[in-house]
Symmetry: C2
Subunit: 206 residues, 2 copies
């Protein structure tokens, strides 16, 4: 049995959707950021990084969204969530997810988590002002070239799609001009119609 | 034939070492950051992100170190650079590399590339001051739990090892107290003795 630790509004949604798409049997457990539960001794024993998501498996605990997404795809091959038998195409999927993780998500995090990388309030405000530009630049690259359409890798839905959808949830909050991203917004709308996405979102709101 | 675009002192070294360890036939091409060659029209046609590394393959171009490392491991299975047939253990390898990419490398980048996320000189200085702490915290987690020893995943050398070695090259510059990281430093010393590492470093200096 798999157990996903998550918090609403975080990148844990990507793995949550992937579990749904895979037809996995899983439970979810909410971590309450308002009471800093992610840094409680109990949760740090699960994920010493003090972050979500974390996935408890019968082999041990996994963290890091790109790794978890590939694990779900490999663990449920019948769901065909990644081009598992084509190293080049699998690498393209991984490169997309790595870009979301290390560039786009990181740009977004400077809006409200500037304290991770600086100390002064003035620096936080400076970082925050730049977020529309940095997140916008990341999504502009996706819009112009990386999102093949209708899904990220083209005709086939993969683990890249829930991850892009998850980060695209943050665009309004990040102050990005949505009118510059018609293809990303089309993808977001297509994703929102998928039963697995609706189910995962509903589970997180309960 | 594979062709690796790199710049000395960057994370491209991880893929370069992996290519050597894999016994791959490849060429390397240096991108000169001093003249901002990474943002030249010619290079942006190869990697629109304006970053290194990029790997030209006969199928197309790959970017993002974690994806490139997994691609090298899958493309040269006889080199046994990743636990390719164990999805959980492969995910652990990927989680390690994802952590380096999205947390440790990002922390490091705030030392001299603060302009990516802020605008004011005061913010850059603030970020820079925090780097010993943020990079140190990332490496402390590696030291305490993630580096199993003697290699990252234990007895078997994998694609995690050249990546850790590459980021560990930056510890002195990042102002991290090396005496707190005996296991990481032992790993760095073991890596430095490997013929593939010496070869890759020598090729980058030519």
């Amino acid at each position: 049995m798999l157990k996903l630790y998550y918090a609403p509004g975080t990148c844990a949604l990507a793995s949550h959707i992937a579990l749904q798409e895979a037809g996995a049997t899983y439970t979810i457990e909410r971590i309450d950021f308002k009471i800093n539960q992610q840094n409680s001794p109990e949760y740090l024993a699960i994920n010493p990084k003090g972050r979500v998501p974390a996935l408890v498996t019968d082999r041990g605990i996994l963290t890091e969204t790109p790794a978890m997404l590939a694990f779900i795809a490999q663990g449920f091959p019948q769901a065909k969530l990644a081009p598992l038998h084509d190293p080049f195409e699998f690498a393209q999927a991984q490169a997309f997810n790595s870009y979301l993780c290390s560039t786009v998500h990181v740009a977004h995090a400077h809006r409200v988590r500037g304290y991770r990388w600086a100390t002064d309030e003035a620096s936080f405000a400076d970082m925050k002002r730049k977020v529309p530009q940095t997140v916008g630049a990341g999504f502009a690259l996706i819009e112009r070239g990386m999102l093949r359409g209708p899904w990220v890798l083209g005709e086939t839905y993969t683990i890249c799609d829930p991850y892009l959808f998850t980060l695209a949830q943050w665009l309004e909050g990040d102050g990005v001009d949505l009118s510059t991203l018609p293809r990303v917004m089309g993808h977001r709308a297509r994703m929102a119609e998928r039963p697995a996405v609706r189910k995962a979102l509903a589970e997180e709101l309960n």
